[in-house]
């Protein structure tokens, strides 16, 4: 019998076969198909139903109370309905599209289909990130469309489109990126989709809010490291005067409000740290 030996290695298939696309191009290819999967999925139908439900309730309340006292100015209208509510849509979208994005690759074994291809994990991660963000943007745009429809009705065509709304939309997109980064970090941390979705939902629906309140109320420190704290700036474009950075209320409790720059920096920082942190975890995870 022959003895298997580690002899001379094989040789490269230089110049043969198609050129493998670069990492960025592969990420875009993967994101296109992943987005297609999202847009056809039940989770997308669920998310659209949530947005339509929220929009329908808002529209009914506005109709019942003839604008609910918000039709005096576009800032008041959008400041309340968009600035105060879009984060709910973003959080739900982040959980639904991003919660199991990475964990599901391990648990559902879809990762085995992709990871045997000549593709870097960076491309897979980035492709899924882009797709989850794009699917979320579609839902945010649907919510925006519902609000704009109401805006045209109650404010008139002249006031329905405001610069503040577009400014706020841009900030909301940064918040979405920050949230998606955090969601992908947790999704990379777990190989179980259920755990990933549960942790993300608990943290973003009320966990961070509770921590925020506790830090301000009990420990009296500015919670600049909590993403929830930064989300207030989504509503700032609609305010004539920004809230003071610190204010002392009843019982001497100090309340903190992020400055514009601080809020944007927190969101940007969250996005960079969590998105790349999640990527670093995904690069090291094994399909055992």
């Amino acid at each position: 019998m022959s003895t298997p030996e580690a002899g001379a290695s094989g040789y490269a298939r230089s110049g043969e076969g198609p050129a493998i696309p670069d990492t960025a191009r592969q990420a875009l290819i993967l994101s296109r198909y992943q987005l297609r999967d999202y847009l056809r999925s039940r989770r997308f139908v669920l998310m659209v139903a949530i947005v339509v439900f929220i929009g329908a309730i808002l529209s009914l309340v506005l109709a019942k109370y003839n604008g609910a006292g918000l039709s005096s100015s576009s800032d008041a209208f959008y400041g309340t309905l968009w600035g105060g509510g879009v984060y709910v849509v973003i959080v739900f979208a982040g959980i639904i599209f991003g919660g199991d994005a990475i964990a599901g690759e391990f648990q559902n074994k879809t990762g085995y289909f992709l990871m045997g291809l000549p593709v870097k994990r960076t491309s897979v991660y980035a492709g899924k990130f882009i797709a989850a963000t794009a699917a979320s943007v579609v839902c945010v745009l649907l919510y925006l469309g519902i609000l704009l429809g109401n805006g045209f009705y109650y404010l008139g065509a002249g006031a329905a489109l405001s610069g503040a709304l577009f400014e706020s939309f841009a900030i909301a997109m940064l918040y979405l990126l920050a949230l998606m980064g955090a969601v992908f970090l947790f999704s990379s941390l777990f190989k179980n989709s259920l755990y990933a979705v549960l942790v993300v939902a608990i943290l973003f629906l009320f966990g961070f809010s509770i921590i925020d309140e506790l830090l301000q109320g009990l420990v009296h420190i500015e919670p600049w490291f909590i993403i929830d704290y930064a989300r207030q700036v989504i509503g700032y474009p609609f305010l004539t005067t920004l809230p003071p950075h610190t204010s002392t209320g009843m019982f001497g409790i100090t309340t903190y409000n992020p400055t514009y720059a601080e809020g944007l920096a927190i969101m940007g920082g969250y996005f960079l740290l969590t998105a790349f942190g999640g990527l670093a975890l995904f690069e090291r995870e094994e399909f055992t």
């Binding site: 019998m1 022959s2 298997p4 030996e5 580690a6 002899g7 290695s9 094989g10 040789y11 490269a12 298939r13 043969e16 076969g17 198609p18 050129a19 493998i20 696309p21 592969q26 290819i29 993967l30 198909y33 992943q34 297609r36 999967d37 999202y38 056809r40 999925s41 559902n108 074994k109 879809t110 990762g111 085995y112 289909f113 992709l114 990871m115 045997g116 291809l117 000549p118 593709v119 870097k120 094994e286 399909f287 055992t288």
Partner: protein, 315 residues
Amino acid sequence: MSPSLEARGLTRRFGSFTALDNLNLNIQGSKCVGFLGPNGAGKTTTLKMFTDLIFPTSGEALINGHSVRADRKRALASCGDLIESPEIYPSLTPREALELVGAVRGMSAPDIRSRTDTVLHEVKMADWADSKVGRFSKGMKQRVNIAAALLSDPEVVMLDEPSTGLDPRGMAEVRSIIRELKRENRLIFMSSHILSEVIDVCDEVALVDHGKLLFYDTLANVNARLGKGATSVDLAFVRPVSDADVASRIVNLPGVTGVSRVDPQRLTAMVTGGPEAQSQVLEQLVASKLGLLSFQPSRSALEEVYMREISQGDS
């Protein structure tokens, strides 16, 4: 140029458990190599390290000379693989899933279309090309996975128990596909614990157990090695063979060490001496005018080597 797979001191430990222990294996050329071993032997661990799904504790896996860890894109560029029955995004159709694979591999759109039609036809999924994968049975998904592995017409094909989850007809079809895959300039490396599957389609066999390579050789050599022992041969005749004929004209043939009766027209003979001796026994049986209908050496050679090597490893 010929395709190659090479493991250099490939080792993987999970805590105190060694799943693969210093595997050195160099496979070059166009052939089909069966990677055999019982459950937990280290087969899938090896294939996962060859596709960078898990990472070696030490050592290196190379495909066509490229290190999978250091240069996975080049290493996997000419490799199609099927590891652990992957799931495909359920909302995609087989055609879309293969488009995705082709696009990621850098294939042109016309190539993707043409190869998609070809491979879906090969795996008998052409009629479901535009149905959503989420509605498919496990066997249908496995066929699409095989199609995805073959899409780019790769030089190296790695298959991890490809007939897993398939019904007997599906298993036979997969074997048929693998046989058709064997062509010039293609190396097929297939893990399995189904010996008949390996015998059916493979040219060479590597046996692992407890994370160690026990042997790597051609099937012909495995059979010859067993030739030192006895091979069981199934004999069928067109008419009943009497006990007297068995005693006088079969048992006494050179190389035959024993004969047992299955039914009046079928016997099992034990033949020593390997393929040469079997050939001589066959010639003499034909010459004896007993009405020999078939002479089928039992495909147990590999099975016997397998059992012997595995039990030696256990002791």
